[in-house]
């Protein structure tokens, strides 16, 4: 009897197969996804760095963008990351009502961010910025702007759909704290990428 129990417990103490690096496989896979996706963004930003250093001139961001508006987008995304972290912390103590509210608030932040990005894109397109042309005659500007912000926006859209689904599952008690944590990891990654995009594209 005791040997049977020992056989069941043994894998839990083993740092390999069941809990590699002390975490679940799902979480390890999420970290691996984050690293690979982070490298993809790093490649985009490095390509953008090539275009910037190789261009004779580059549009002045202060003139092209309304920085207060981009800062507001940053505020929304950072705030949504804080609500998500609060949701994850609440899931650890099984405060499911708080988890549902925080995940919904995070999804709301995602929707707000997307709406603001759509407005920003629309504003630039009306000003004549497209993938191939723009008023400053620096085609690479439009290319990299739509590529990088579009790719990031797609991540926000996917995250928002995941969070809305998660909120429903939390209300129906169909998810675990680990599930909330995985969604949180993805959302914080989206915020983390924006930190780099905001600095390197909008400010530098």
């Amino acid at each position: 009897m005791s040997s049977a129990r020992g056989a069941r417990e043994a894998p839990m103490n083993w740092s390999g197969g069941v809990a590699p690096l002390g975490m679940s496989w799902q979480k390890l896979m999420m970290w691996i996804f984050i690293v690979t996706d982070g490298l993809l963004f790093a490649g985009f930003l490095a390509g953008y760095g090539f275009a910037r250093t190789g261009a004779r001139s580059w549009p002045d961001q202060q003139e092209v963008f309304h920085l207060w508006f981009i800062s507001l987008m940053t505020f929304v995304l950072i705030s949504s990351s804080a609500t998500m972290a609060t949701g994850v912390a609440a899931a650890r103590v099984a405060d499911w009502k708080k988890v549902a509210n925080m995940v919904l608030a995070t999804a709301g932040g995602g929707v707000s961010f997307l709406a603001m990005q759509a407005y920003e894109w629309g504003s630039l397109i009306r000003d004549g910025v497209t993938l191939g042309t723009n008023p400053w005659n620096v085609p690479a500007f439009g290319n990299y702007f739509f590529l990088i912000t579009g790719f990031h926006g797609t991540h926000v859209l996917i995250g928002t759909i995941v969070l809305a689904t998660l909120a429903l599952r939390v209300r129906a008690r169909k998810t675990t704290a680990a599930g909330v944590e995985l969604a949180g990891l993805y959302w914080h990654f989206v915020d983390l990428v924006w930190v780099f995009v905001f600095t390197l594209f909008y400010l530098v």
């Binding site: 490298l39 261009a55 609440a90």
Partner: protein
Amino acid sequence: MESHESQSYGALWKIWGLLLVLTAIMVFVDAMGLPRVLLLVILIAAMLTKAFFISSQFMDLKHEKLVVGISVAFSILFFGALLFAVIAPDGIAVLHGGR
């Protein structure tokens, strides 16, 4: 779920406040018209500080094993910087009409 002590909500919102302050400083510094190199140093330092707080506090990387933190942070930052270091000189060469 892995066992690590749950963070207090207050501590998380303090990080949120810190991230907002750093963002405000970055926007303010950008508008000050500082010399280019100084501006780059300040902005990149603030960017990396924000990235550190998000990954360690919000993503709970500080609670994971050290090898996980190093693997994640090192691989993205090192290879990102390496990509830039390899590609950017080509951009400068293109700018000056060389190969």
